[in-house]
Symmetry: C2
Subunit: 353 residues, 2 copies
Amino acid sequence: MVQSAQNYPKGYRLIFIDACLRKPTPYAPVWLMRQAGRYLSQYRETRAKAADFIDFCRRPDLAAEATLQPIDILGVDAAILFSDILVVPLEMGMEVEFIKDRGPVLPCPVRTANDVEQLSSNAPDNLGYVYEAVRLIRSKLAQDKALIGFAGSPWTLATYMVEGQGSKNYAVIKQMAYANPALLHALLAKIAACVSAYLIGQIRAGANAVQLFDSWGGALEQSAFMEFSWHYLLVIASEIKREFPTIPIILFSKGAGGYLESIGGEFDVFGVDWNTPLARAKAALFDRYALQGNMEPMRLYSQEATRQGVEDIFKVIGKENGFIFNLGHGMQPDFSLENTKYLVDLVHTISAR
Amino acid sequence: MVQSAQNYPKGYRLIFIDACLRKPTPYAPVWLMRQAGRYLSQYRETRAKAADFIDFCRRPDLAAEATLQPIDILGVDAAILFSDILVVPLEMGMEVEFIKDRGPVLPCPVRTANDVEQLSSNAPDNLGYVYEAVRLIRSKLAQDKALIGFAGSPWTLATYMVEGQGSKNYAVIKQMAYANPALLHALLAKIAACVSAYLIGQIRAGANAVQLFDSWGGALEQSAFMEFSWHYLLVIASEIKREFPTIPIILFSKGAGGYLESIGGEFDVFGVDWNTPLARAKAALFDRYALQGNMEPMRLYSQEATRQGVEDIFKVIGKENGFIFNLGHGMQPDFSLENTKYLVDLVHTISAR
């Protein structure tokens, strides 16, 4: 076993950040998307203290609790702010309901120019409770652990805002994209401005890096992906870089594995989903970007499959700098804690230099 | 405008088949996945004559009616048998319910070795009503139009049979894949044997080509895709080729665009989904396979976007042999007939040699 990150040799503070910036690290840092989640009994206890899911997101004390749990329990190298991407549309003035077993519902979706007009630009100011949570977490988090802030991508937020709920085929927003692209661009630009300011607010409050989650990027064909999704990720990244040139920015677009040849721009880490062969991502991007990913999460149902998944990843990456281990998508509520701890320890062991 | 396929020059029978076999054709043939569907008022009238959706699939007269409608209305170059992929699990003895606005439900899903054991191997014999429909369609279809038979891929059928319904994350079947792969292989092998015999039955009845729909292939990471999905497509293809070496076989795996470098085997046409950049598919496969695809269906919401989509595709393909125009996924119920006709005419015009 490698030494625990708590006893990490001096001079190697925030190895997660070092990896983002492609500097040498003694092992590959690891964190897991949705590591603060229902698979942890402690999370379920914290969740039970809130009146509802939105209350949970709005209470800095509870958000901090949930954020810190996986650090103590799993020994991962970075904490990611507990929140939800839909706090942005919420604070832009939209009604957002979280309905059990159905997912989020926005009962008054955005469909017209007037609907876009009505959206508040004050969301970044209304999101003070998130900055407060970031400050609280950063004050409690071990000095050698990174805190990652995050937001949803404009395209992904727009899918919820236009469809009014999770969608199987995105027919409503795609109709807008193909039949009325100017309207969709107006919406995306307004969201992008809010998200930029929101992430800058998180960084000011103490976040050491930020990740943009483009969960539905892969819902778009290549040309539309570049126009309606990737473009706005780069707009946000460059806004952040202007103010904080050394804060790492991670872009994660689920389903964009076919479009790697089009990927470029000013950011630091490309988040690889499990659908994208890591060797392909390495060939296309590793000379310019750090990579983060990409074990198929469902391998966590089996220790043997987990071991194979980790080994396969390091067969591709070797001991090169600039790699952060993660899942290729989020943790599932029914994953076992035992297998998850096994995964984190295994990554540290296999990748030790 | 090119001459209509009805007046097609002698010596060019079944240009769809010629394109599958990469022979010269006077224009690129076109058909549309789910071209027999709810966007046609005639389809809705035919559907209304059946007691329920399963009755619709089981009545050769109604299946023939639905199959032939888009030929007359759109002027596409091939008819595809009207049926549903779930007739296979149905005739393997599973309960299958089609519930409006919810999709198919299989209330007693396959979870154990005993469940697999219980599945009937007689499905190919029980599916006589489909062969009857094929015979009827082929007898009524114009001599210069091809009839495509089809089936779901073993992996895609297994997802329904194991999950019991459409799934967002495939957690149940993936748990089986990673924690109990032998059980899943037993199920897939049994389905593959049924599907092979079923497609051979369709060909004997008169189908001129067959397509395997692997709608959920992209739910698997690359190694699992090769093991649990692609492998069985090739097993079926080689069974068919042994008996009918000149019948074209089309393989369509939705979401496998990241895995093109692994694609090979004994089949004729690779069906490209809209997620896969056509230029990538061309570079990886066009020297060995005909290609079919891949316009983003949602472009049909706009004639301008449709025109752009068609032009972009022929910019990549040029006037090369071995290309069949199709959508990258199925028709939507709310697409306009006017735009759909516009699409078919445009393909014939733009691709004319």
